[in-house]
Amino acid sequence: MTEFEPKIVAFVCNWCTYAGADLTGTSRIKYAQNVKIIRFPCTGRIDFMLLLKAFGEGADGIIVSGCHPNDCHYTSGNFHARRRWIMFRGLLDLLGIDVRRIQYSWVSAAEGAKWADVVNTTVTAIRELGPYTDYAKVANYLEKEANV
């Protein structure tokens, strides 16, 4: 049996983490290939529904990353995002959606090595947790009905 390869979606901001991930590449730092990066103008733009949609489409883990506090290109986008994440995380936890599968981080444009580390540790953590079958069962309601 082949080893489980987690599917990870990363929602990142254009100004810091995307540039940081770019630096990881130009610095020739190797990191896990499981991550699919989606670029946003700002972490403040990352709607909480997008995270649910990622799980619904079969992601096993999610990374959300942007500029460090006080570094936002739009001054306050990441502060607003931080409040939203605090509330969203509490709600997901109450609902039994596994919050260990969502990694939030601040990665600046200069932190290429940190990005590699964030991705690697997340991949390792999700590999240990295994595929997100609980959510997949709910998300694949059509297949379930077809099998009956």
Binding site: F48, M49, L52, G56, P69, N70, S76, F79, H80, R82, R83, R84, W85, I86, M87, F88, R89, G90, L91, L92, D93, L94, L95, G96, I97, D98, V99, Q103, Y104, S105, W106, V118, D134, Y135, V138, A139, Y141
Partner: protein, 266 residues
């Protein structure tokens, strides 16, 4: 209740308001919202422990706005909703007359939103111990068990959106669920759509909900959706300090503090 009836009558007679929104007799032994436009009808007004519907929901409905300036019978949950609507620039002081009803069923007249705020200082939002215990019990379950518990609870939801219709703070003319490009929330009632709808509803009320339980009361399937908003209210208090509707204050999620603390961002 005579005071309330007299006051409503005089407001309509003097044409200070054109409609009085209050509680009246409903079917069987229930009460319902009534909209009075004639002084002689005011005898239909009543107020007792059965009057739990949050009447503030009508203040933003265009069918009611079109009747003219309203006076509204407002027990404490309605007063809280009025303040929150005012904080969100949905109501002005000159838009309505508030006929406050104290917990002892006495009529209180409020000169301004400020006066309502002062009154509510002594009637703060408090989450019932039994709900706190339930929330703690759910949070103590292992994560998959918790998910299974909620899937079972949300399963009966058939998306009638009564929770949305009953909520005074769900006043958007076009809700996210009506959006179909992209279709954020599947319209059919299956578990994924139900889950996404309730997450979205709770998130859009985060830091705004005034804990009136209108959503839970309205739910025909008795789904405990009020636990979601109650738990978020606890989270707001835990992370961002004491919470209560206030006209001068920005909503929790529309504001920020550079020193907000969390423990999960690396």
């Amino acid at each position: 209740m005579n005071e309330l009836i007299q006051k409503a009558k005089s407001l309509l007679e003097s044409n200070t308001v054109q409609v009085v929104i209050g509680y009246g007799k409903g079917s069987a032994d229930k009460t319902r919202a009534i909209f009075l436009t004639k002084p002689e009808d005011c005898d239909q007004l009543l107020f007792d422990s059965r009057c739990v519907q949050n009447l503030a929901v009508y203040l933003t409905k265009h069918e009611i706005k079109h009747l003219g300036k309203p006076a509204i019978v407002a027990p404490i949950p309605v007063l809280r909703s009025i303040l929150q609507l005012a904080a969100e620039n949905q109501l002005k002081e000159s838009d309505l007359v508030v006929l406050g009803v104290s917990p002892e069923s006495k009529l209180i007249e409020f000169e301004s939103f400020g006066a309502i705020e002062v009154f509510l200082e002594t009637h703060k939002i408090e989450i019932d111990e039994k709900y706190k215990a339930t929330i703690d019990k759910i949070k103590a379950m292992p994560v998959s068990e918790r998910f299974a518990f909620w899937m079972e609870e949300l399963e009966p939801c058939f998306k009638c959106y009564a929770c949305r219709a009953a909520c005074p703070l769900c006043y958007c003319p076009k809700c996210t669920v009506e959006n179909n490009q992209p279709q954020w929330i599947p319209a059919a009632s299956h578990l994924l759509g139900n889950l996404e709808w309730h997450v979205m509803r709770a998130m859009h009320l985060a830091g705004r909900c005034t804990d009136c339980e209108a959503c839970y009361t309205a739910c025909p399937m008795g789904i405990p959706i009020h636990l979601l908003t109650k738990s978020m209210l606890q989270d707001v208090e835990e992370h961002f300090g004491p919470y209560g509707p206030s006209v001068g204050k920005q909503n929790t999620l529309s504001s920020f503090n550079p020193d907000d603390k969390e423990s999960f961002i690396r």
